[in-house]
């Protein structure tokens, strides 16, 4: 309680002109029990009023454009106040995500390497929530260029702090000490048929290893269990996919059979596990130009993730309970 009150103190004395960049809506969310001395007589009304006041302040900041974005288009306030709470509802109540190994996330720059699955990349969202809420890190994911061509998706992705998967962006983020996340399997992973669940696909061309080597950051392997069951892809309408310019057009047991209702993900039980950071100190930055070593390291990382995946799958138990 004391802690909570401390956190709210600056909030009470604020006006919109001063710390406009401080993210406050998160505090609105857990404002329920927080009250200070002035509102002790009518705590409920006080907190409600404060909630409304800070909600209005938030609205005013948003409507007057009074917030900051970074060069990647990351809008921390919008992310914590709008995007993450939506994902958090899924995270806590629908997928009931369990976390393991959060202590393995290093403090400075690091490259998180995770498996990718689920037909629609909801695993990326869940990973953001996990790291935001439990490791206090804002993961910057590298996404396929397709995302940035699609209206709405592209700019929401940028507002959430993610960017295009390219060497330059990854290097720039890592140099700033950010936690960068990649899904080296790409579309091959996220769009693989249900029959191949939890089997890692090829890890792209291993570009992520070169990025980590050049930036001199550790690789943190990550296994995400549960995403495979949310939209079990049992068939693929290739001609339609080609027509729409998509990498695949999935058929799941519920989609398109049930129409829009088929878009509701199945409530699988999730487990996200972070492995020990793999430091690449024994290699120097020049190794980044040696394809053979890169392949070796890539394989090593891939085996590591597959291992964690198998292990986590066993520990999770039944898929939907």
């Amino acid at each position: 309680m004391n802690n909570a009150r401390h956190r709210h103190d600056p909030h009470d004395s604020d006006d919109a002109e001063t710390g406009a960049r401080v993210i406050r809506l998160a505090s609105v969310r857990d404002n329920g029990g927080a009250e200070d001395d002035t509102s002790r007589e009518a705590p409920e009304r006080g907190s409600l009023e404060r909630g409304i006041a800070s909600g209005l302040a938030f609205l005013r900041r948003r409507l007057s454009g009074d917030y900051a974005v970074d060069e990647f288009g990351f809008d921390p306030e919008f992310n914590s106040a709008v995007l993450l709470p939506l994902a958090r509802a899924l995270y806590e109540h629908w997928f009931r995500v369990d976390l393991e190994g959060v202590e393995n996330i290093p403090d400075g720059g690091a490259l998180l390497v995770a498996n990718h699955s689920g037909t629609i990349p909801i695993d990326a969202l869940m990973l953001s929530v996990a790291l935001h809420d439990h490791a206090d890190r804002r993961v910057r994911l590298l996404g396929a260029d397709l995302i940035y061509q699609v209206p709405l998706l592209g700019h929401l992705s940028r507002k959430a702090g993610h960017t295009l998967a390219c060497q330059a962006d990854a290097a720039r983020l890592l140099a700033k000490g950010e936690l960068v996340g990649v899904f080296p399997e790409g579309f091959k992973g996220v769009g693989k048929p249900f029959s191949e669940r939890y089997k890692l696909q090829r890890f792209g061309r291993g570009g992520f290893v070169g990025t980590a080597l050049r930036a001199g950051v550790p690789i943190v392997p990550c296994a995400i269990v549960g995403a495979e069951e949310i939209y079990p892809k049992i068939a693929d309408l290739r001609p339609l996919a080609r027509l729409l310019g998509l990498p695949y057009f999935p058929i799941t047991p519920t989609f398109p059979l049930l129409g829009p209702a088929g878009l509701v993900p199945l409530p699988s039980k999730w487990l996200i596990r972070f492995g020990e950071p793999m430091t690449l100190d024994e290699y120097d930055a020049d190794t980044a130009d040696d394809p053979m070593t890169l392949f070796d390291i890539t394989d090593h990382v891939r085996e590591n993730v597959q291992h964690m995946l198998d292990d986590a799958l066993l520990r999770r138990g039944p898929a939907f309970l």
Binding site: D15, A16, E17, L56, L59, R60, R62, L63, S64, G65, D66, Y67, A68, V69, D70, E71, F72, G73, D75, D145, Y148, Q149, V150, P151, L152, L153, G154, H155, R158, K159, T163, L164, C166, A168, D169, R172
Partner: protein
């Protein structure tokens, strides 16, 4: 790096806003003996001791001026970015004019330095772009039309000259969009539309450079020696939606195909010639450039961030806050 300072400076495009301001700044520098301004039309602002010569840089007349005056520094600010004239004429001015000018520079033994105003538009705008462009980056999707393509061609000719006259100090400056109280550009006109159309589902990252900073950079590059190619922009980034909200402009997201149609109609019927395909692409995908190289080289940072440049522009235009924000109050 103060050099054997510029003595006789030629400024092209002197009748337009940037040229006039740069000429005015340079003529105030006692170290510079003569400032010669050239353009096809007479300037409408007083230029101090700048000597104005009406000459079309697309003609060999420019070579005569450079030779007879013993011009040692050429500041080429002629790039026409707003299509006030027809596209064909603008292209002619940009490309053919530059070719003539560079040919004259190559010929003249007195020429020592060339400063070229280019544009960050040379990087193009596409969803496959890296988040931030450095000077060494190749465009992912090079511009295919408009002044952006002209700028690419101009830079190509400048590289050619640099190869042939390795004794020249050549600086190329890629400016982000200019903003400020005095700027009139396709962007400022766009901001003035009664309801500003934006591309539905896209919110581009934009950067601006304040006119004062732009002039200061050009002054420094002219009086000091800084060979190379540099990006110029204010620090930080504004999203289009954010900028429009700050200026309190009403805006309406429109699907991109209908926006192209609107733009086309604007070009044809409403005289909104600036609503060009490259402006549309910029308003869809945006562009951010890295200015670290310039800041290192000049040991100087722009006074105005992108945010501040926009605020200055918005204040000068008398843009206020939107009705909703006013309703919610300021406290």
């Amino acid at each position: 790096m103060p050099a054997a300072a510029a003595r006789v400076v030629l400024v092209t495009g002197v009748s337009r806003f940037l040229g006039a301001r740069v000429a005015n700044t340079l003529q105030a520098d006692p170290g510079i003996e003569r400032v010669i301004g050239v353009d096809t039309v007479a300037p409408d602002v007083p230029l101090g001791r700048t000597e104005f010569v009406r000459v079309d840089i697309r003609t060999p007349g420019i070579a005569k001026i450079i030779e007879s005056a013993g011009v040692d520094t050429v500041v080429h600010l002629n790039l026409v970015t707003s299509a006030s004239a027809s596209r064909a004429k603008a292209k002619e001015l940009n490309v053919i004019g530059t070719m003539q000018l560079l040919a004259a520079c190559q010929r003249s033994p007195d020429t020592r330095k060339l400063v070229v105003r280019s544009s960050a538009a040379v990087y193009g705008s596409s969803p496959m772009d890296p988040a931030v462009f450095g000077e060494w980056d190749e465009p992912v999707d090079p511009p295919k039309s408009g002044y952006a393509k002209d700028a690419v061609e101009v830079e190509g000719y400048v590289r050619g000259l640099t190869r042939r006259r390795s004794d020249l100090t050549v600086s190329v400056l890629r400016f982000a969009n200019f903003l400020g109280p005095g700027v009139d550009s396709p962007l400022t006109r766009y901001m003035h539309l009664p309801v500003v159309p934006t591309v539905l589902g896209f919110d581009p990252r934009l950067q601006f450079v304040h006119e004062d900073d732009g002039v200061e950079v050009l002054r420094r590059i002219t009086v000091e020696d800084h060979p190379g190619c540099y990006n110029v922009a204010g620090d930080g980034v504004l999203l289009l939606s954010q900028a429009l909200r700050r200026a309190g402009r009403p805006y309406l997201p429109v699907p991109s195909p209908s926006l192209s149609v609107l733009g086309d109609m604007g070009r044809r019927f409403a005289g909104l010639t600036g609503f060009s395909p490259e402006l549309l692409r910029w308003l869809t995908y945006g562009r951010v450039i890295d200015t670290a190289a310039l800041e290192d080289e000049l040991s100087w940072r722009p006074k105005y961030s992108s945010e501040a440049a926009f605020a200055d522009f918005a204040a000068a235009q008398g843009f206020g806050h939107g009705p909703l924000t006013t309703l919610l109050g300021r406290g």
